[in-house]
């Protein structure tokens, strides 16, 4: 039993140790360096030829090409959290005890052990010296409070005990940020949608994956605009969006690159834009009869071919199909039924023999383009935790820097010869700031000046 306990204790000690902290910090840093040198998100297949097979297999095994999402990276973060928690549990009770302790007695012999200390002999009487000392310390640091002490008069001034709690705030903030990040990645989503002008959709394609989700409402892009500087460089991208819910327009708003729209926890960001097809004018020539029909097809909408029971639709638009330039993906079928055949029609090569669907030879007479806006769509229910962590972290580090726990002790012992006194001061600062050192020196100088040993002689002469 006792053996097991000591093992547990050892494990806890290790988990609370600063060594582990350093290990985790350096490992995280090293991993992050690899992550920036190796392009993330490229598959190992794409890396073939760039690296030797052994290196590629290492990359593959450790997941170095998607490093920040690997399980070992998560384990490192988890280790950091554990380290913090155990360390806090270990130290917080001691700190609180320290904060609560009321110092009541003091041994004047301890004085010389502090990092700042000074002593002065004076001819003044202990009472006179006490008055001077109180005044001087009060001016530099604050009022002195008397302590019980044997054979001497001792007093203390203390400030900023609470500053010892600040690092706990910083540490808690790290946990909050990581917790918020976890919540966001588990409960939120991230994707994008490309909305042509005039189109309405509620379908978001997930980043990376080939899946999509349906929002409980729809978004319409009323207008997309790019404005340029005189130099031709882009100045502003702007989309006018409308949120449509249950067939009603519930919100109209324009978004810019730094100015997104949020509705029901889902935020839409202006991320990219592009051109897409608006409609195309095509000529259909019936191969049997030689009859030609001309019609205008809006992109992705079914139209009935006049005088027939067939409908036709541009299902897809390709900017550059196999280096033959733009192409329309046409599909054809009976009205009211699914399309049963389809084919790519090359826009710039009307003579191409493959420009046909079923019984029709097709020529594209004209295409009209329109813009689409690229929206990044996100829901992150963890972000407020992260922000809370941010605030706590800044307040914590700021106060860690700007505050410190300072203590000044002062003692007066009666002089050995029966007259005069020995005055000693000592100081300690949790954060050895130049300010503290300076104040202490100033105090020493003032005391040297006011408690001069010469005063002793003057006093004696007067007698």
């Amino acid at each position: 039993m006792s053996k097991e306990k000591s093992f547990l204790e050892k494990a806890l000690d290790a988990l609370a140790s600063l060594k582990l902290t350093l290990f985790v910090f350096f490992t995280l840093a090293a991993a992050s360096i690899i992550g920036t040198l190796l392009p993330q998100g490229t598959s190992t297949a794409e890396m073939q030829g760039q690296f030797s097979p052994t290196i590629i297999s290492i990359i593959d095994q450790l997941g170095l090409n998607n490093l920040y999402h690997t399980s070992w990276f998560m384990v490192l973060l988890l280790l950091l959290c554990l380290n913090l928690l155990v360390c806090t549990l270990d130290r917080l009770p001691k700190t609180i005890k320290l904060l609560k302790r009321q110092e009541e007695t003091f041994d004047s012999r301890k004085l010389s052990k502090f990092s700042y200390s000074a002593s002065f002999t004076t001819g003044l009487s202990a009472e006179e010296a006490r008055g001077l000392l109180h005044g001087a310390v009060a001016d530099s640091f604050g009022p002195l409070h008397e302590l019980k002490s044997e054979g001497a008069y001792c007093a203390v001034n203390e400030k900023g005990r609470w500053s010892r709690l600040m690092v706990y705030g910083v540490h808690a903030s790290v946990l909050l940020v990581l917790l918020g990040a976890l919540a966001g990645s588990r409960l939120g989503f991230e994707g994008f949608m490309n909305l042509p002008e005039g189109a309405t959709s509620g379908e978001v394609i997930m980043t990376g994956g080939h899946s999509f989700i349906d929002l409980p409402f729809k978004v319409r892009c009323d207008k997309f605009e790019v404005s340029l500087y005189d130099t031709g460089a882009p100045k502003e991208y702007r989309s006018d969006l409308t949120i449509v819910e249950d067939g009603r327009e519930v919100l109209k708003q324009s978004i810019l690159v730094n100015d997104p729209l949020t509705y029901k926890g889902v935020t839409f960001y202006q991320a990219s834009y592009g051109a897409t097809l608006k409609d195309a004018e095509i000529e259909l020539k019936e191969r049997d009869s030689g009859k030609t029909i001309t019609m205008t097809l809006p992109y992705q909408e079914n139209r009935t071919i006049p005088g027939t029971d067939e409908q036709i639709r541009i299902a897809e638009y390709q900017e550059n199909l196999m280096r033959f330039g733009p192409a329309l993906g046409l599909v054809l079928g009976k009205v009211g039924q699914d399309a049963n055949s389809g084919s790519y029609i090359l826009v710039d090569h009307p003579e191409f023999h493959g420009n046909r669907v079923q019984n029709y030879q097709v020529r594209v007479l004209k295409t009209t383009k329109s813009h689409y806006t690229g929206l990044q769509v996100r829901r992150d229910p963890g972000v407020w935790l992260v922000y809370l962590g941010f605030i706590l972290m800044l307040v914590g580090i700021g106060l860690t820097f700007y505050s410190s726990h300072n203590k000044i002790w002062a003692c007066i012992e009666p002089g050995t010869s029966g007259t005069g006194a020995l005055v000693s001061i000592a100081g300690r600062s949790s954060r050895n700031t130049p300010g503290f050192a300076e104040s202490f020196e100033e105090l020493s100088r003032r005391l040297t000046d006011q408690l001069k040993p010469e005063k002793m002689k003057e006093v004696q002469k007067k007698k």
Binding site: L22, A29, T36, L37, E190, L256, Q376, D380, M393
Partner: protein, 282 residues
């Protein structure tokens, strides 16, 4: 009077300031050090006038943005921040002997900004991604952090020299004897690093909040972001290592120098070698 004239003058005043600090240290002559401080102060004021004028000029050109938008402008701000932080430090600690490095770094930043052929000093319009008030908060805070780390880098070099000198702890002669003792240097260095850590944290957080409001992600592992995190981790490690046996002193000084190497890589390396959201700074 144009901003570029003022900024050219600044470059030379920084050089002069470096020479003054260095000769003050070499010849143990306090007045030269005082002159160094005055030159540093003058450079700071001229540079600030130059930066403000550049801001006004950008409005006259019809762009109207704070001069913090490209590599040139950020270098100018970096050199200004280094001198500002150093002078505040000097005033707080009454130590003039450590001004050589900060003055030299401020000069280097200005000289690189002005004379490198790869850096365009023209006032350019802002690309849409940078049009945000967060830009100012983000750049200023990051660079305050970087500047503090630059000063700390100089302090670390002096500390290591001091430690390595044969008659440590109290050298009797030479440049080193004019310096504060090693214990004091360590303390100054620590204060400077904690200060830098504070501002780097503010910088990363403002960048993160900005990214969230602009792109909907507060963290996307973009190379620049990641490198600033690496820098942050190194300095966090340093702050903790200081509480560990055998680390305080030389190892911490070395870590601070490594940390500053990370700062430089975050600043230049990422722009020139890696690509990502921040590559506009090219």
């Amino acid at each position: 009077m144009t901003s570029s004239l003022l900024l050219s003058i600044t470059t030379f005043v920084y050089l002069f300031c470096t020479v003054l600090y260095l000769s003050g240290l070499l010849f143990h002559y306090g007045r030269l050090l005082t002159a160094g401080t005055l030159a540093g102060l003058a450079a700071l004021v001229i540079q600030m006038a130059g930066v403000i004028l550049r801001w006004v000029e950008s409005y006259q050109l019809g762009y109207g943005h704070a001069p913090l938008s490209n590599l040139y402008e950020s270098l100018v701000f970096a050199s200004w921040a280094i001198m500002l932080i150093y002078l505040i430090f000097e005033w707080r600690t009454k130590q003039r002997t450590i001004g050589v490095f900060p003055a030299f770094f401020a000069f280097l930043a200005m000289a690189y900004a002005s004379f490198s052929t790869g850096i365009d000093s023209k006032i350019q319009p802002l690309v849409p991604a940078l049009k945000s008030n967060w830009l100012i908060a983000h750049v200023i805070t990051c660079f305050l952090g970087y500047a503090a780390f630059a000063v700390s880098f100089g302090l670390s070099i002096l500390y290591l020299m001091r430690k390595a000198s044969p008659d440590n702890p109290k050298p009797k002669s030479g440049i080193l004897s004019a310096l504060p003792d090693a214990r004091q240097l360590e303390m100054f260095n620590y204060q400077m690093i904690l200060f830098g850590f504070l501002w780097l944290s503010v910088g990363i957080i403002t960048g993160s909040v900005w990214a969230n409001s602009a792109w909907g992600k507060y963290w996307s592992w973009d190379p620049k972001e990641t490198w600033s995190l690496i820098t942050w981790l190194i300095y966090a490690a340093l702050l903790h290592a200081r509480n560990m046996q055998g680390w305080k002193g030389q190892r911490v000084a070395l870590l601070s120098m490594i940390g500053f190497g990370c700062v430089l890589f975050t600043y230049f390396g990422v722009n020139f070698l890696l690509s990502g959201l921040h590559s506009y700074a090219r």
